[in-house]
Amino acid sequence: MSDQTAHHFDAIVIGAGMTGGWAAKELCEQGVKTLLLERGRNVEHIKDYPTTNMRPWEFPHRGQIPQEVREAHPVVSRCYAFREDAMHFFVKDQEHPYVQEKPFDWIRGYQVGGKSIMWARQVQRWSDYDFEGPARDGFAVDWPIRYKDLAPWYSKVEQFIGVSGNKDGLDMLPDGEFLKAWELNCVEKYFQSVLRQHYPNRHMIYGRCAHLTENRPIFQQQGRTLCLARNICQRGCPYGGYFNANSTLIPWAAKTGNLTLRPHSVVHSIIFDEQANQATGVRVIDAQTKESTEYFAKLIFVNAAALNTNLILLNSTSGRFPNGLGNDYDLLGRYVAFHNYRGKISAQYEGFPGRTTEGKRPTSGYLPRFRNVYRQETDFLRGYAAGFGATRSIPVNSEGFGEELLLNLLDTGAEGPWRVNSHMMGETIPKKDNTVSLDDTQKDEWGVPLLKVNIAYDDNDEKMLQDFFEQFTHMYEKAGFTNIQTRDTHQAPGLDIHEMGGVRMGHDPKTSMLNKWNQLHACPNVFVTDGACMTSTATQNPSLTFMALTARAANYAVEQMKKGELSS
């Protein structure tokens, strides 16, 4: 089914990150000749992980980012993972400017693999309490799918990427296809039991993470081996111990012989043919030479990462779509949402004084949302999940000078008390006026308008933050934790790196951009399956859901293509 000239393919996938990688894999596996476009450079698994085996003392600044870089690139410098060991995988502010109408920290990874190289690897499923949220609570629009639509695709994704977890049997956080879990430590188990005793609907579980803890034939075929718990995943892992697109999806798609990967390809816009009434291809600017080229295909997947997917669609104007592709009702770029990560709470615990941990573990504890799950019970909508972890560290005494100082430093003995930490992951409500749009005058070096971002917290987010502080203070007190300290990081939206929406799914073309298969209602041979498609945000780390939606949509697209039913 392919038209084999150099610029014609069966399908084009825009963006070679986590979801673009899934789209390419699914399409290529089913014989679809696929062009995978990536605006950044190629990053080959292992070969292009220059810092992966460096020890802490081998970094000239021991991990710290030089001041010159911090001053030139303040946004990315606020990202927790932008450190000396992985800074080469992040987009520096000046490399791709954008307009902040309100403060928004846009964290990006332009390379094959995208942000899947540096992601935090937490993979929690959604439940129907999440999918039914907008309909029950009267915000956004109803999701056109439910948990049962996505469940088999969650399984497919989990089995392929490898997910370590426990079967917890919780209705608000469905179980998946899990490899064995690392341990929770004594204090985490203790807190788990305190919650069980005092709060019937609050659970502290092991945070499910995309790491290989058991061998399976599928991982062998991928060339991946067990995670060794180095906890420096953001550098890329030579074992493929955690999932990223580079180790797992791209080589798999390439092996089929159906993949053409083209890095350094900035997509300017999607070409819409008024006569055929469908999209026919994409306009690409070579990132290095700035030359413009066109590529053509019957099927287009847009997986450029949430905000860049909005940008491409907004910039894809035509007589039929003067306000952006598929944007008949002024919905594109609206209802953008994110996760509220502002709250942190820490404390100390005097229990288990003689016990400690040994080794490392690439995850920690997780509290699924417990607020407003079964019914509305607070003066704010929705709720928050939270991370939870307990650690002990070795205090270093640096008093004195000379030999006294040396002896003090060498006199490391007893560990300090247990420290416990939680951070919130709050659902935010998508709002019409939380938008991204195109700047009228300013363009980037590839001739694409700059993206204007106008996104802010609201009163619901502030109330939820206070509730997180109150509830966790109570829970910490019940557990006998002391020296409880809450902290509002005041971080801008975006630093959560969970921006979603702008091209939302829904039933009705008048109130949503995409149908239940992630097709643009008004241009059905274009699919959007990255974070841009999200109708609401829930509280779970969203990547797993993006991947499941992508696999589902790609398989549907292939079926439709085979039936010749992709055009409108």
Partner: protein, 174 residues
Amino acid sequence: MKRRKAIQNLALISAGMALLPGCDFEQWPVFENLMLEKDQLRLVDQLTRAILPQGGEGMPVVSTPEPTAHFVLRMVNDCYDARDARRYVAGLKLFQQYVQDTYKTSFKSLNPQQHVLLLTEVQTDEHLPKSLKYFLSTTKNLSVRHFTTSEYFMKNHLRYEFAPGRYLGCVAES
């Protein structure tokens, strides 16, 4: 003041003894934001050795990719903002002057006890200029960081393992 006298007395006793091995300044990297003279580079080198002497009898041999002074100055040069870097250099000059004026000799020619007394005085004397104290505390903090991020210290004192491949959640503290 009492302490200063003590240092001067000790200086007489130990006059002529070269106590601090030096670093060959010809091999120093360039710290373009600091613009230090050779004697200033040497002083930082001597100071880091006085703050945290290494290689003494019965003491562990801690090998690092660079001498401590290189690390200290690289960090100030690369990772501190311009204001703090200026403050550091100003403090360094005051430190040079302070040693010269107060003890009538060079830092290098003082012995380890004298160094400790001198450094303690700079740290604790509230009348001394802030930038002088800033210079000393920064040099000390970075020297300590250089030491505590060394392979020796991390492996032997912080239980560091590069690829542990295991996590045990509740073991007896050793």
